[in-house]
């Protein structure tokens, strides 16, 4: 049974120093508020996992929470580059960042394998690219039935997964809809999980196309209205595109970023 807790307590339970943790959400339902709480709690040495490390991971990386990034596309969607990510990779600021780089198809299949309790996934992928030479976690495998050579990637087993959803009931059953990305797979791939929700309701009305995570498959639920901002929650909010554009300027140099970080963590300067 999922436990309903305030955000700070739930984050403290779920995300620990040194964890391999995914904050998922494909443009939609990105758990920003939980990520900000991780920054406030000064978690360190995290291996951050995410298909599309965008602004939330730029913030976590810039804040010094990450040791390693496992990803397939790192950018500010519709805007440009992630300056804190680039600064970490190119100059080791605020700390060096190890990279493990995949394609979207590879990452998605790694989540599926972990959610399925399999050691690896098979796909037609990466062929002819330079990625396998840089990422040891990509290997050829021969089909035992046809002899065809395919690509294997290992299960992405997580210590913790954090997602945002539209709603949960008081028992901790979770419902999300719209673009559902890989959130279900991420939660099922993780030992511990936290779902922040827009709303806690008495009864979850069935919704066509919705993903439901039963309470016994979820660790913690926290009621955080607007917890996906500047991302959005379909039916509750719209994407704050201006924030993503502003982030480009804030993140561009270390000083403006540090001022942003101090404001987030309540440091007075």
């Amino acid at each position: 049974m999922a436990q309903l807790l305030p955000l700070a307590e739930a984050v403290a339970e779920v995300v620990r120093d040194g964890d391999t943790v995914a904050f998922e959400g494909f443009t939609h339902l990105i758990p920003f508020a939980a990520g900000h709480e991780v920054i406030r709690q000064r978690r360190r040495d995290l291996t951050l996992v995410r298909m599309t490390p965008d602004v939330i991971y730029d913030q976590l990386i810039g804040a010094g929470c990450a040791r390693k990034l496992v990803f397939s596309w790192g950018g500010n969607p519709g805007v440009g580059s992630l300056h804190r990510f680039r600064d970490a990779v190119q100059h080791g600021w605020p700390a060096p960042l190890d990279l493990e780089e995949h394609s979207h198809a590879g990452m998605a299949n790694r989540y599926v394998a972990a959610a399925s309790g399999l050691p690896f996934a098979v796909l037609r992928g990466y062929v002819g690219t330079d990625l396998p030479a840089q990422t040891p976690n990509i290997a050829p495998i021969t089909c035992p039935f046809t002899g065809e050579v395919l690509t294997a990637v290992p299960a992405l087993n997580l210590d913790a997964a954090v997602i945002h959803a539209q709603r949960a009931d008081r028992d901790g059953n979770v419902q999300l809809w719209g673009i559902t990305g890989v959130q279900k797979e991420a939660v099922l791939a993780a030992k511990r999980s936290l779902v922040t929700v827009e709303e806690v309701v008495e009864v979850l009305e069935p919704k066509p196309g919705a993903v439901v995570l039963p309470t016994w498959a979820v660790g913690y639920v926290a009621h955080v209205p607007g917890g996906a901002h500047p991302s959005y929650a379909h039916g509750y909010s719209v994407r704050d595109n201006a924030y993503y554009q502003r982030w480009d300027a804030i993140s561009r140099d270390r000083e403006t970023f540090t001022a942003w970080l101090d404001a987030l963590t309540g440091v007075r300067t």
Binding site: P77, S103, H104, G128, I179
Partner: protein, 252 residues
């Protein structure tokens, strides 16, 4: 009617999409071009976005791959594993649209790093996203990119997405069953692969552009097709639909 070179590039990309095709769309110019095609000559074009929205019919231009308007107007919204495994991988997508930070004469694409040392790059780029499997599994790939010596290089620093490798036959040798890049559409013209070699040669110049300009904007010894043609300028309808579309960007 006056128009910019980016508008010409977008219109040329839209024209490359035939009605009824199933198109895997990335954000930015490909999305604009696909939506322009759907509003002009290709009303039955099927738009698939990697966020899992299949058959999206956005009424405004999305700013991100996962805007709500895509889910609201899609025939189906599926998970990300599903869009790659069930829809892209088996070859259900006719056309993929890609861009590039660097590309070479065989249409190999780099969106990963600039510089020879992956671990210590001079510029860290966003990375692969869906591109390697789009390049492998779509019936054909259209590359849309502004033409410059910086982007059109003799050898890409990193192969993120495979074109024709080192030439004809490489895709088959690697076991790839489909396609490859069919054209590179730029702000100056169009490049297409020569059938015998799979090397990209200049086949079209946009209005007002000279061969010299195209050669000067290419970092390899670009060859010119003997059948070099002129792109027809954007029609008044194409331009007005495109501009109306641009005005809706992110409106949802």
């Amino acid at each position: 009617m006056n128009y910019t070179s980016d508008e010409m590039m977008t219109v040329a990309a839209a024209r490359a999409l035939r009605d009824g095709a199933v198109c895997f769309v990335g954000i930015g110019l490909p999305s604009t071009a696909a939506n322009l095609a759907r509003r002009t000559h290709a009303p039955s074009l099927v738009l698939v976005y990697e966020s899992g929205t299949i058959g999206a019919k956005p009424t405004s231009l999305p700013l991100s791959i996962g805007d709500g308007i895509l889910a609201d107007t899609a025939d189906a919204v599926v998970s990300v594993p599903e869009v790659f495994n069930y829809w892209l991988q088996p070859g259900r997508i006719d056309v993929g649209f890609l861009s590039a930070a660097q590309l070479d004469r065989f249409g190999n694409i780099n969106t990963t790093v600039i510089g020879a040392d992956y671990r210590n790059p001079s510029v860290r780029l966003p990375g692969a996203g869906g591109a390697p499997e789009i390049a492998a599994s779509c019936g054909e790939v259209i590359v849309v990119v502004r033409q410059s010596r910086r982007a059109f290089v003799d050898r890409v620093d990193f192969v993120t997405s495979l074109g024709y490798g080192r030439g004809r036959g490489d895709r088959e040798r690697l076991g790839l069953r489909r396609g490859g890049p069919s054209r590179i559409i730029t702000d100056l013209g169009v490049l297409q692969p020569e059938p015998e070699t799979c090397e990209f040669v200049l086949t079209h110049l946009h209005p007002g552009v000279t061969v010299e300009q195209a050669l000067a904007s290419t970092g390899w010894a670009l060859r010119v097709s003997p059948d070099l043609a002129r792109t027809a300028p954007p029609t008044a309808e194409e331009l007005s639909v495109l501009r109306a579309l641009e005005a809706t960007k992110g409106a949802a």
